[in-house]
């Protein structure tokens, strides 16, 4: 019986090795092995330090306390565990841009869970402290500072040459609805993977804004030039 099991185990081992071998391609004497690697697609997303996509990334702003006066809170997009990635696997051969805009468009606002309270992200009046000439009746302004961030090349062959971080910019309805995070020139690497961390955020909150948790949806768009 024991001998039978030994032979069975040996057979399984040989079968396993044979199966392993079949998953690897070897060039034979009488066959040409060809392989085509197609270019991939330009993509952006948030990944952790192991490059695994984070399904629902969010970035908290620093907590503040109710105030009768206008105040500013700050935050950061991109950390070591939530890196803003751009992959260009030969897809954009004349550069690309990475931009950030409010998903709901220029009339978006910061909202609480029940959307009963809100404040603006793109009202430039008195630097966001009061409601101004834009379409809604809310004050508040969000500034995004990509230059404060760190851009890192994340592949053995790619460099930072030709890639520039955008300038610190505040959203302003119908004037600046999108902020440029990165601009890659035509001469930047056609094949590369990069990530941004530490993009600065600064939001002015109008005075007497009720205490609550607020959120805003932003969309990062990568576009081949």
């Amino acid at each position: 019986m024991n001998k039978f099991i030994k032979v069975a185990a040996s057979s399984l081992l040989v079968l396993g090795i044979a199966l392993c071998i079949t998953t690897v391609s070897y060039a034979a004497n009488n066959a040409n092995v060809t392989q085509t690697i197609n270019s991939g697609t330009l993509v952006t997303d948030i990944r952790d330090a192991s490059r695994v996509t984070v399904a629902s990334p969010s970035f908290a702003m620093a907590g503040t306390t109710f105030s009768f006066n206008c105040q500013t809170t700050t935050g950061v997009i991109g950390s070591d565990s939530q890196r803003l990635y751009v992959d260009n696997p030969g897809a954009a051969n004349a550069g690309y841009t990475l931009t950030l805009a409010a998903t709901g468009g220029a009339t978006s606002t910061w909202n609480n869970a029940g959307t009963t309270q809100s404040f603006d992200y793109n009202d430039p009046t008195t630097a966001g402290c009061t409601d101004g000439a834009d379409a809604d009746a809310k004050g508040g302004q969000l500034t995004v500072n990509p230059t404060a961030g760190t851009l890192t090349a994340d592949c053995s062959s790619c460099t930072l040459t030709g890639i520039t971080k955008g300038a610190s910019t505040a959203y302003s309805q119908a004037v600046t609805d999108s902020v440029t995070l990165l601009t890659a020139a035509a001469g930047s690497d056609d094949i590369g993977r990069w990530y941004l961390t530490g993009i600065g955020l600064s939001q002015t909150i109008p005075g007497e804004q009720p205490n609550d948790s607020y959120t805003i949806n932003l969309t990062a768009t990568v576009t081949a030039s």
Binding site: S10, T41, S58, A94, A186, A224
Partner: protein, 391 residues
């Protein structure tokens, strides 16, 4: 036969090896999917003669005319995905960069001209699919370049999360040339400079005064006051029609600091080539603005410069003393010290500091003189013309 080929191992060893081998074989196909990825897309039918069409749509369309094409959507993930595909107008992002409007925005231009055959599709893991679309230009389409986007975005349920919630999308630029009176022109617009700790950020800006976008070669240069190039960078960026574009060139800071000239120039193809075309290229180069700046040296350079400066000052001092000494040797006369003389009394009579007298005669402390000793002193004539020295 089989037994003779295998080493003499225990039953447990054989069983373990067999299990490991089977596990390795079973895991092999799945490990390929354990990768990050996202949803992307590209033009389905690129023009082989224009490599630019591999990444963006480039079309020349007469007013009131339709063209058809397709976008290839790629699921780079190991899971089946539901994907939204839609068209938007282009907008200008900060710094004059190309961007795409949001789905929530009203589409008034190219975003309205594009009609996709599907708006949502399910794509298998690592699968691709083609979505046909048509572009129909209006009768009154203005000559020149019009831009829009085809957006590919994963469909996701949103949930409330305090702070900034991020979504992602990939956009493919759709550049349409409406033939007619085409003007291709860009001009330098400005130059600003921001000095950082280790870098100089040179920010040239350029204005597109034409009606088509221009791929501009922007070259920024830092030169010393002797016109030697310290640092230079060239990059090619699109400048959208009617817009001002600017870029942050992070350049190496000159190590030694000092005065430098920062300048930029623009080169672009003035021929009728549209995006990616390369026929009869005619490059025009325009000088942009320049600025004279003072750059602070690096810490190491500062200390080196300090040491060199101290050395120069010391050298100059000793050189001065050497020249004075040589002069004194030529003009001073011998004087025989008398018994009552001290160095101070002789110096007073000759209207000179006793310290100089001691130094020129190499008399060391306690500056004692001996009678009959011969020392060099200024002549009487010289002494008469000089004021009395301070004691």
């Amino acid at each position: 036969m089989l037994k003779s080929l295998l080493p003499n191992l225990s039953f447990k060893s054989y069983a373990s090896l067999a299990l490991i081998a089977i596990a390795a074989v079973m895991a092999a196909p799945f490990s390929a999917y354990a990768q990050s990825g996202s949803i992307g897309g590209r033009p389905a039918n690129p023009d082989p003669s224009n490599t630019r069409t591999q990444s963006i749509f480039v079309k020349t369309i007469q007013p009131n005319e339709s063209v058809e094409d397709a976008v290839e959507i790629v699921n780079n993930t190991g899971n089946k995905k539901s994907v939204m595909v839609y068209a938007t107008d282009s907008i200008v992002s900060s710094g004059g960069a190309f961007a795409c409007a949001q789905a929530a925005d009203e589409q008034k231009n190219v975003g309205q001209w594009i009609k996709l055959s599907q708006s949502t599709i399910d794509i298998d893991a690592n699968g691709t699919t083609k979505v046909p679309f048509s572009i129909t230009t209006p009768v009154n389409a203005e000559p020149g370049e019009q831009n829009g986007c085809i957006i590919i975005q994963e469909q996701k349920e949103s949930s409330f999360q305090s702070g900034v919630s991020l979504s992602f999308r990939t956009a493919i630029r759709v550049a349409i040339l409406i033939p007619g009176d085409i003007k291709k022109e860009i001009t330098p617009y400005g130059l600003s400079i921001d000095e950082k700790t280790n870098k100089i950020v040179v920010i040239p800006s350029v204005k597109n005064t034409g009606n088509v976008s221009v791929d501009a070669d922007i070259t920024t240069t830092i030169k010393s006051v002797f016109s030697t190039i310290q640092s230079t960078q060239t990059s090619t960026y699109p400048v959208l029609r009617g817009e001002v574009s600017e870029w942050n060139f992070e350049m190496d800071k000159p190590f030694w600091g000092g005065l430098y000239t920062v300048s930029f120039n623009i080169g672009y193809d003035t021929s009728n080539n549209f995006l990616g075309e390369n026929k009869d290229v005619s490059i025009k180069t325009i000088e942009g603005q320049s600025q004279l700046i003072f750059v602070t040296p690096s810490i190491l350079a500062f200390f080196i410069e300090l040491i060199v400066l101290a050395g120069l000052v010391t050298g100059a001092y000793y050189l001065y003393r050497f020249i004075v000494h040589k002069k004194n040797v030529k003009t001073w006369v011998d004087y025989k010290v008398k018994a009552a003389d001290t160095i101070e009394s002789i110096a007073l009579k000759r209207a000179i500091s006793w310290k100089i007298l001691a130094r020129e005669n190499k008399i060391k402390a306690p500056y004692a003189l001996e009678a009959q000793q011969i020392i060099k002193v200024p002549s009487q004539l010289h002494a008469k013309n000089l004021p009395l020295p301070k004691k």
